[in-house]
């Protein structure tokens, strides 16, 4: 199945977008969690503050489903 990971400039070099300037498509096996997917891509988990899927914040143990568009953010600015 295919999911789409999106992020801003802070994670750009790690994410390597290929769909547009923010988005990378990822082919993955069903059931894989975000922890596993990010690990495969070489994105350190400590650099991901949260994932945002379909209007909701998700923990990194979330297992995406086909077609999910997942925004990830690094903890950069502080409140």
């Amino acid at each position: 199945m295919i999911i789409y990971l999106r992020s801003g400039r802070k994670l750009h070099d790690l994410l390597k977008p290929d769909v547009d300037q923010y988005t990378r498509h990822v082919e993955m096996q069903e059931g894989a969690t975000l922890v596993e997917i990010l690990g495969e891509l070489g994105i350190p988990l400590v650099m991901v503050a949260f994932a945002f899927v379909d209007g909701k914040v998700r923990k990194l143990d979330y297992a995406p489903t086909d077609g999910d568009v997942i925004t990830i953010q690094s903890p950069v600015a502080g409140g």
Partner: protein, 638 residues
Amino acid sequence: MNGFGGTILRINMETGEIKRTPTPEKFAREWMGARGFVAKTVYDEVPRDADPLGPENILIMAPGVLTGTFAPAGSKIGFGCISPATNGHADSNMGGHLGAEMKYAGYDMVVFERISPEPVYLYIDDDTIELRSAGDYWGMGSLDLEKRMKDDLGEDFQIATIGPAGENGVVYSCITHDFGRQAGRCGVGAVMGSKKLKAIAIRGTKSIPVHDLPTLTKSTYDIIQRTKTHPLMEPWQKYGTALFVGWSNDHGCFPSRNFQTTYHEGWEGISGEKLAEEILVTHKACFGCWINCGKYSRARIPGKPDIYVEGPEYETIALCGGSCGMTNIHDVAYANYLCDNLGLDTMSGGNTIGFAMECYEKGIITKDDLEGHELRWGNIDDFENVLRMIADRRGIGEVLSHGTKGAAERLGRGTLAFAHQAKGMEFSGYDTRWYSAQLLSYCTSDIGAHHNRSWAITADIEIGQDTPEGKAAVVIYLQHIRPLFDTWCCCRLFWGEVDVTAEEHVDTIGYLTGWDVTFEECMKISEKIWNLTRSHYIERNGGPGRQFDVAPARQLEEKVPSGPAEGQRVGVENFEYMLDDYYYNRGWDKNGNPTREVLEILGLPHVADNLEKAGLLGEPFEDGVPKVRGQRLKPKAM
């Protein structure tokens, strides 16, 4: 002059005399606005022995070069003075619409001098400027008064107010505007209250002259188009800064029960998700902003009136929530409302009440001190009782009105060890025992512990949480770039979250003013301001700088007892290493005093002269200023 209102106002509160002078372009270019204007003016004009709440202190209100313009969220306005909390330089800023309105009325800075014999408010309607009686308003809550003044003057006036805490001189009183935007830190509300200035009302109908309007318009249009499709726009709009409550807990930096530990059991009940699910009414934006990070909420607590409040933001959740042991978002929103209406900073206020709750737990504060009430973790009734005592400076509230450091000095019994402050201003909502760069940021900050001067937790993660090495230079970079936004007066969120670069902001300044300005020049201005405010602090407080860069013992010596950061502490040796490294990288001596060489490079030779006269000038380096001075290490994730 392009980009500015064009006039500086000086108001003698004692006599009512109002002076108008043109804003000198050299002054504007050299200091750029708010934080810069404050640093320069307060350094030059306030006697070194002036009481922060006495007639010789001044209060400054100043927007910046980007306020009221097409710059993304050019909404900010700064307030500054000598802080009653730290006895050093104070600047604190707020969003909303006041800054833009002030520039549209034609003003770049208002300097309030001396003390009014009676309560007054400042009325500005373009060229009409009056001090009007505030006798009917004195004693009112900040939010209540803003509503009243909108009714009295008209909806199109922008209003800033103080609450009872500011009138009574609580050292962490804030200035409130737009029903929930605050210049919260440094006690600027107490200085406003000391001048008997209850409120400020401004309506401006003029425009700001622009050097190159077509290019400025195109540039802004491009930024809007680019950022409105940015992937992070939606989560920021939905949750605001409260997004990070979960992350902070997962990473062991969330303050729980007065920083006793760094993972808060029950944090899910005060998270951004809970805010959005249970209390959010609508989103709210400042001038010129399309992120809308403000959350307008309604709290419903049995036995209390329903209240509406802007917030709670991350910092309020961390300090009124986690640090006071709360696990219910309604309670945190209610605490937020109480602080706002009484005119207290939610950060220092929450931090101080968390400190008091620990004192109560340890038997240092008792029911007798609390007029028969208790002060239990997570109890909103107890929180309300002590907060009202603080605002009135009644009983133990008088002790706590001085903040955690002042209270610890009065209470004794080892309480200073768990007073989470630096230079007398309370920590923001991040514990630092696993994040030593953040501890260095707090303790070396010119205004006291405040994350907006440097938020270095990402740098800690990048460099390594267990090492003190390599952190000083990153902290210096952050201490220059982050307060730059408080100088220009636009919100950091577009830079920090949706990828509008600092260089793009500098380009905007160029289109606006016609100045051939560069990012490097702006960073040097920021470094100059930092050295000026540092020197000012040392001059006023009379001692080597190092003696003021002190960390709470809990952060250095007590291991985190639970959660992801269990077993962590910074350690005295690591902290001292980082301080040495920090001073060296700044070109200061080992005592933390600026050297003549550095001050002269930055165009501050008179400051070097003043430090020398006071015997506080840094010892020169044998081989000249370290080459690393001015070298700034940018975190990879920025």
